[in-house]
């Protein structure tokens, strides 16, 4: 084949350009640390990367959800422990009230302490975490319960608290219609998504502490039910203490308060189980995150050693092409004429 000077220089220019293109691609890969910069570099890898990135992003969100929920559950657990302590103290007081040696004064002292305990209970049930009342259901920014002082007996009365501060009518057909809504808000559970499609109810409502079933099969509540002839357990105890009804105090009241304690324990164990589940979910979430990050790295990160080798190769080729061409292109017949 006949070869002309222009062919030589054109070919040289083209090859050097190809070398430079390759080097520039390697350079970008080395400086960014990523195998791919744009979809056309490797469409399959890019779609993998996009997929993994969005998976990681939602996983991180789930992890955040789990952490927040775990903290919430811890607060709930502590509060339930305190509720248990208060009820246990009430239980002790009831037992001691059965002491035949106790006179009216002692009964009065016991009643006073129980009134204090009711106030404490109200405080605990209004525990606030991160701006929300943990036992408040979905109505999280208003205290779920409040205490009033009974005008006639002077006893402390625990009741559900409405947004505007009045006592919620918790009967089945309240006079103020909104009371029913607010009561059901308090009863509602909060739920959170901890992984794709898996939601968990994590809140304990004030009403779950309030209502419990007794060993004899009935349902008793701590707080009075409006319009009902039977009073709530707490009020019953203080009334019994006022009327010195020892048989009821050491009988029905004592057995009911024990059931209330059992109920709180049951709630605590539920919270504990959820808390466990959260920590399991957390470690699973972390595992998944690690796996996906590893996958992402395998997909898009460069192998430094390999790229360095490739670069060294490339450099050799480039240098060789420059050296050879500078010699070949210089010579013409003119040099010898």
């Amino acid at each position: 084949m006949r070869v002309t000077n222009q062919m030589l220089s054109n070919n040289f220019m083209r090859d050097v350009n190809t070398n430079l293109e390759n080097m520039s691609k390697l350079q970008t890969q080395m400086t960014t640390g990523k195998e791919i910069q744009k979809p056309s570099d490797d469409p399959y890898k890019v779609s993998r990367v996009l997929q993994i990135n969005s998976d990681i992003s939602s996983n991180v969100q789930y992890s955040q959800n789990i952490k927040d929920t775990t903290n919430w559950l811890d607060t709930t657990d502590t509060a339930l422990g305190q509720v248990g302590d208060v009820l246990t103290r009430v239980n002790e007081l009831l037992v001691s009230s059965g002491d035949a040696a106790y006179g009216t004064d002692e009964k009065q002292a016991i009643k006073n302490e129980i009134n204090q305990k009711i106030g404490e209970l109200s405080q605990i049930m209004n525990t606030n975490y991160d701006g929300k009342y943990v036992f408040g259901g979905t109505r999280a920014t208003t205290k779920p319960v409040s205490t009033q002082t009974d005008a006639t007996t002077g006893n402390t009365v625990l009741s559900f608290n409405a947004r505007d501060g009045h006592v919620i009518d918790n009967s089945s057909s309240p006079t103020i219609a909104q009371d029913a809504n607010e009561y059901s808000m308090i009863k509602a559970n909060l739920s959170v998504e901890i992984s794709q499609g898996v939601s968990i109810d994590y809140s304990v409502s004030a009403d779950e502490i309030n209502k419990f079933s007794t060993s004899s099969g009935g349902t008793v509540s701590l707080i009075d039910v409006a319009g009902s002839s039977t009073k709530g357990l707490l009020n019953r105890i203080t009334d019994d203490l006022d009327s010195n009804n020892t048989s009821s105090l050491t009988g029905q009241d004592l057995s009911d308060i024990k059931d209330a304690i059992t109920n709180v324990l049951k709630l605590r164990s539920e919270v504990g189980a959820k808390s466990n589940r959260m920590s399991d979910a957390q470690s699973k979430n972390e595992d998944e995150n690690n796996n996906m990050t590893a996958m992402l790295s395998q997909t898009e990160d460069i192998d430094i050693t390999q790229k360095t080798m490739e670069y060294a190769n490339m450099q050799t080729v480039y240098t060789a092409s420059l050296q050879t061409s500078s010699k070949v292109l210089q010579k013409t017949l003119l040099d010898y004429l």
């Binding site: 002309t4 979809p39 990135n53 969005s54």
Partner: protein, 593 residues
Amino acid sequence: MSVQQKAIDITSHNISNANTDGYSRQHAVIETTTPYTMPATNAAMGAGQLGTGAQVSAIERYRDTFIDYQIRTQTSTKGQYDTIQTQLGEVESIFNEPSDTGLSTLMSNFFNSWQELAKAPDSSNSRTVVAQQSAALADELNSQYNQLTKLKENAQTEVKNSIVDINSQLKQIDQLNQQIKAVSVSGNKANDLMDKRDLLLDQLSSSFNINVSNTSLDGINVSPVDTSGIASPNMVNSVEDGTQKTLSYISDIQPVVPSTIDPATGNPEYTITYYSFGDTSKAANRQTLTIAATAAEAKTIDENRTIWTDSNGIAVDSTGAQINQPGTVYNTSQLKLFQPSDGQMKGYTVVQQDVDNYIDQLNSVAKVLAFSVNTIHSGVTDPASDGMPFFVNSDVAQYDANGVMSNPTAIAAAEQDITAANISVNKQIITDPSQIKTRTNDYKYQTESDNLEDGEADGARATAIAGLANTLIKISDVGSAINVRSDLFSTGENTISADGMTMGNNASGTTIEGYFKDTIDKLGVQSQEAQRMVTNQDTLLSNFQNSKASISGVSLDEEMANLIQYQHAYQANAKVISTIDSLLDVVINGLKK
């Protein structure tokens, strides 16, 4: 001697054009002159014919027309993929994936912000974050739409510029054609002019694939390979009879206002504005005509933008008759679009189609996002009973001074027209994020504040919206089976619960993010293919160009060798003359003293 001198002249011409584009080396065809036979009756006694020397009978160029043909074909193909590669590269940078700032990241952020809101619906922080993240997502959709539209406009400007170039090249070829013919008539070869003409043809072939046929006296006819059925498709005519065609640029195609249906075809009428020869600088070049076309045909015209015109720049039909009667409605079979199967012109058409596809896909993403989020946000499938749509059509939505929607009915009606261009978050929600509906029973109420049933920490609805990230929807049906919100749950085959919170999957659908990923995937494959084609064509073309250079290119070494050869011959001739001179000297000065 003068023969050698001429040969040296040609060598010198070759050397000076060693680096000229399109130059083919020339050589002198040297032949012996007619021999001199002695006019004697006793010729048998002589030694025979006596040679009378040499002459240059012609100056010819080395050229292989078959390689020219191959180069032109490959140049056309390369032109097409070059264009596609450049433009798709730009689409890639518009989508900007994979990155931390692209649409897919914003979508993840969007859904994550709903998760956060689900945990703390009572906090105005998380509400504001949702409103802002959604606005960022909508803005990015708007901006990508605008950039893609701009890219399409750029491609159209390029088409216009190409048409101007093509017409000017055609004109030059035509002029050279006539000059060459004039030279040929006198029996000479117009080598340099033919080189110039070939170079122009090479350049022309990158715009579209051409047919070149030789005619008498070194003239040529040039026509595109794809003639759209035009009767005399020559763009350069060796015989100037005024039938040569030109190309013109359609600057605009708009439906006739008020919209009119052509009674003959039953199709809507469009006004086409075109500029003769693509030259928009002169107002006199502006021509209009009315055609009846289907929407698909109008789209083809919009993406093609080039029509056949006659030598005066007036649109013609297949017989070459002008179609410029005002008041006449032409049909699309009369309007002849220039649709080459190769070259940059084809590339621009393909790119515009591709960009249109990407715009459509962005629109689908925007529509489905708006439909599904609005449905779950309100819990109702009829926009008219949605008191607080989350995403609205910014073309229609109007707000009063307090940021409250002032035309809710129109906003509801315009929801079906939401595209990537006009999707926006309801400003009322941005001004007052407490309007975001997050609660279980919100579906019963027009606005969030009407709902007294649920507590402020109820984030069930927000969780449901966050769950949309994983809901499978038949997004590819947008525009056909899915046109309004409720279509998702009828033709779209998704299910929705009565409270509008549980949206069932369509097993044959994809997630919104998944659909967008597919789009990116497709873009990657297309762009990769264009790059591969460009590389292949480059290699192929450079091989042909090497073959061409091998035949036509100037080799300095060779010219040097020739130069020396001719120099020696020249010297030898001179020697002959000086020898004869000394012989004569003997005769003239030596014999007679």
